[in-house]
């Protein structure tokens, strides 16, 4: 491998090397420019010394493979790869600002702030997972934020791509990852479970809200394996003002068996954004670690039996969709109500891990936007929630799977579309307005939603209702 000495001013594949931004153990980062292009980019150059860990090379190769295939706001835009035969490098978008690493000095952070950050990171993971990529090294130093608020995940050196050969798989005996954030199955060498990223995000949120790492920072495999049987101290024990909903979310992320965690980052983000709707379990109230005998029993089990198998490749995120039912209580015949419920049940039956969000748009008066009390002085908001629950009751859906939301808006279609975008909704189910004269005058909400939604839309109509 020919390697020239790199320094400020030298030119590599048409890129002029600028200042050295960072020199780390695995790679150095340089600011670079290209002739005739005003943009400043970032060039990442791996540290490849003779006799170095071969994983460093492989991990850089993986990053060169994966980065050009990623799209969207949650990844640095890839610009170019440098050939290994000459000088390996990756040129990418240079993001402004810092990673989350400097935040470590300010821990613990307020729960609301951690939840907001966590939801943004979960959005980034959702985008990544939908592209078939598992990050497997989520930690503060690999997370940045765009000025517009989106989290950006950097460093794909340990990532796994569903559709590409995994050069790190089975190649090395040690599990690769970062000790405080590594999921139990990752410790056991499994690199194909997207829910490993949810565990890492759980560790991060725990750490940021309490100031304490849930599993410490073990340096040996034996220490890493402890997380297979030893549960962390419940966050509320460390910091009593942490609300039960937040502990519920974090401890669910930290479940040893991946099947007990959130099935997708989108579902996690949804809970983080809707704290009042989080279904609380024993996790929320837990104030002690599991007892000596429970831990001893787990310790006696073969480690493989403590973790879940990764999902089959066919079982992708779409098996755990967020389904939104947009319910217009004012314009609902019993026939339509029944047909909507049956349509939803069919969808939920097919996807056992699906979540249902039942939505109602409370139309605001354009003039008096703050008037949420009706003539009798009842709170319209509460009345709607009660109505929604009553509408959904015949479906008999388990409590943890369904949430109810009353959205206040002037334009119902825009509000539903916003909700679907922000919450990564996979499927909107809604009724068509029964009366065609009304539809002509008011326009069709379902028509606009169907046309502009970022996901599947099912418009339910009762046959013959208009005749």
């Amino acid at each position: 491998m020919a390697k020239s000495k790199l320094e400020t001013g030298s030119i590599l594949d048409g890129f002029t090397i600028g200042e050295l931004i960072h020199r780390g153990g695995m790679a150095s980062l340089w600011e670079v420019k290209r002739e005739g292009d005003p943009t400043h980019y970032l060039m990442k150059i791996p540290v490849l010394n003779e006799g170095e860990d071969p994983a460093a090379i492989v991990s850089f190769e993986m990053e060169q493979m994966i980065m050009p295939r990623l799209k969207g706001a949650h990844v640095p835009r890839h610009v170019a790869n440098g050939d290994f035969a000459v000088q390996p490098f990756i040129v990418m978008e240079r993001l402004a600002g810092e990673t989350l690493l400097p935040q470590l000095k300010h821990l613990p952070l307020p729960v609301d702030k951690v939840a907001e950050m966590g939801a943004a990171i979960a959005d980034a993971l959702e985008s990544l997972h939908r592209q078939g990529v598992i990050h497997l090294d989520l930690k503060p130093s690999n997370i940045m934020f765009r000025p517009s608020g989106e989290a950006v995940l950097i460093d794909y050196g340990l990532a796994h791509h569903r559709d590409l050969p995994d050069l790190l798989q089975e190649e090395f005996r040690l599990p690769y990852g970062t000790a405080p954030y590594m999921a139990p199955e990752q410790v056991m060498g499994i690199r194909t479970d997207p829910r490993s990223d949810i565990f890492a995000l759980g560790c991060l949120m725990y750490f940021f809200a309490t100031g304490v790492r849930p599993f410490g920072d073990p340096q040996k495999l034996k220490g890493l394996k402890q997380r297979l049987w030893r549960d962390p101290v419940p966050p509320r024990k460390l910091k009593p003002d942490i609300p039960p909903w937040f502990q519920e979310i974090v401890l669910r992320c930290l479940e040893v068996k991946a099947g007990r965690r959130y099935p997708t980052p989108a579902q996690l983000a949804h809970d983080l954004r809707n704290p009042t709707q989080v279904q609380l379990s024993a996790r929320a109230e837990k104030l002690q670690k599991d007892g000596f005998f429970a831990v001893l029993k787990r310790k006696g089990e073969p480690p493989r039996s403590l973790i879940d198998k990764p999902p089959e490749r066919e079982a992708e995120a779409s098996d755990a969709p967020i389904v939104a039912a947009a319910i217009n209580l004012d314009d609902m015949t019993p026939e339509l109500a029944d047909k909507l419920r049956r349509t939803l049940l069919r969808i939920l039956e097919r996807s056992p891990e699906a979540r249902l969000a039942v939505l109602n748009v409370l139309k605001l008066n354009r003039i008096a936007m703050d008037q949420t009390l009706d003539e009798e002085g009842n709170n319209k908001h509460v009345a709607r929630l009660v109505g929604l629950k009553d509408w959904a009751r015949p479906m008999k859906i388990a409590q943890g799977r369904v949430t109810y939301h009353v959205l206040e808006a002037i334009d119902p279609a825009d509000t539903l579309l916003d909700y679907a975008r922000v919450n990564n909704v996979d499927h909107i189910v809604m009724g068509a307005r029964a009366n065609s004269t009304m539809r002509k005058i008011l326009g069709s909400v379902s028509g606009k939603v169907a046309m502009e939604a970022p996901c599947t839309v099912t418009v339910v109509r009762v046959r013959g209702a208009e005749e």
């Binding site: 071969p54 090379i57 492989v58 190769e61 060169q64 493979m65 050939d83 290994f84 035969a85 569903r162 559709d163 590409l164 050969p165 995994d166 050069l167 798989q169 089975e170 190649e171 090395f172």
Partner: protein
């Protein structure tokens, strides 16, 4: 250069034409045929003549075990394959027999090696079906990328820095970058008799500059080919498996 790589045509004219049409749409610069032009299928003469014409225009074509058996070489075959070869022989013209008999066992182009079966001993027609077989083939050659057929199921193997073999089941239409840091072995799916559960004809393209390997599928009227197999009196199982892709 974009290479179009097809294998195991097995005298299936409809599957071959569907694959060639797809490769033409993809804009391939050169065609490689990894062997088994005949055997199993109902159209040995038409398919051989088509391939001979393509070879005349610069396509690389290799010898497969069925081609070798069809022109007289003795080889170990199961009853079904042997029955099909016995049916095929009298249906080949002299020109086709000569073309098949003259096919080479291996071919090389730049840093690539093409061979029908395990490259460590091509005449033995060993199947590269798992990581151990891939290791044997990979360590026997110096080529950066080896392309083989014979197995009828698409697969990619890679010899790592620590001398281990990683197996990867490719995803249709998803380019796999073949890093120049290591040796690769690509097992082609079959055009004329896929066995990976998908009856559509399977083939690959390889972009030599970007080093990107992509597996493709082309659907074709396999019910008609199956009917022609039955009409020809060939074993029923040969018709059945085309429809199921098994």
């Amino acid at each position: 250069m974009l290479l179009g790589i097809i294998s195991d045509l097995h005298a299936n004219e409809l599957a071959l034409e569907a694959s060639l049409a797809a490769l033409q749409r993809l804009g391939v610069d050169r065609l490689v045929i990894l062997g088994d032009v005949v055997g199993y299928g109902p159209d040995p003469e038409v398919v051989t003549q088509r391939i001979a014409a393509l070879a005349g225009q610069g396509a690389i074509c290799l010898m497969g075990n069925h081609d070798s058996a069809a022109v007289g070489a003795r080889s170990a075959m199961n009853d079904m394959a042997a029955a099909a070869i016995a049916w095929t022989r009298p249906r080949l013209s002299e020109a086709s027999r000569q073309f098949l008999a003259g096919l080479p066992m291996t071919a090389t182009l730049e840093d690539m090696l093409f061979v029908h079966a395990d490259a460590s001993n091509p005449e033995a027609w060993n199947y590269v079906v798992d990581a151990a077989a891939a290791m044997q083939s990979l360590t026997a050659v110096r080529a950066q990328v080896t392309f083989v057929g014979h197995v009828h199921r698409p697969q990619v193997y890679c010899l790592t820095a620590t001398a281990k073999v990683i197996a990867h089941t490719p995803v249709t239409n998803t380019a796999v970058p073949l890093s120049p840091q290591r040796q690769w072995l690509a097992v082609a799916g079959a055009v004329g008799q896929p066995r990976d559960g998908n009856p559509a004809a399977s083939f690959m393209t390889y972009e030599t500059a970007a080093r990107e390997l992509t597996f493709h599928r082309a659907t074709y009227d396999y019910d008609t080919t199956a009917r022609r197999i039955r009409d020809a009196g060939l074993p029923e199982r040969l018709a059945e498996r085309l429809v199921n892709g098994t």
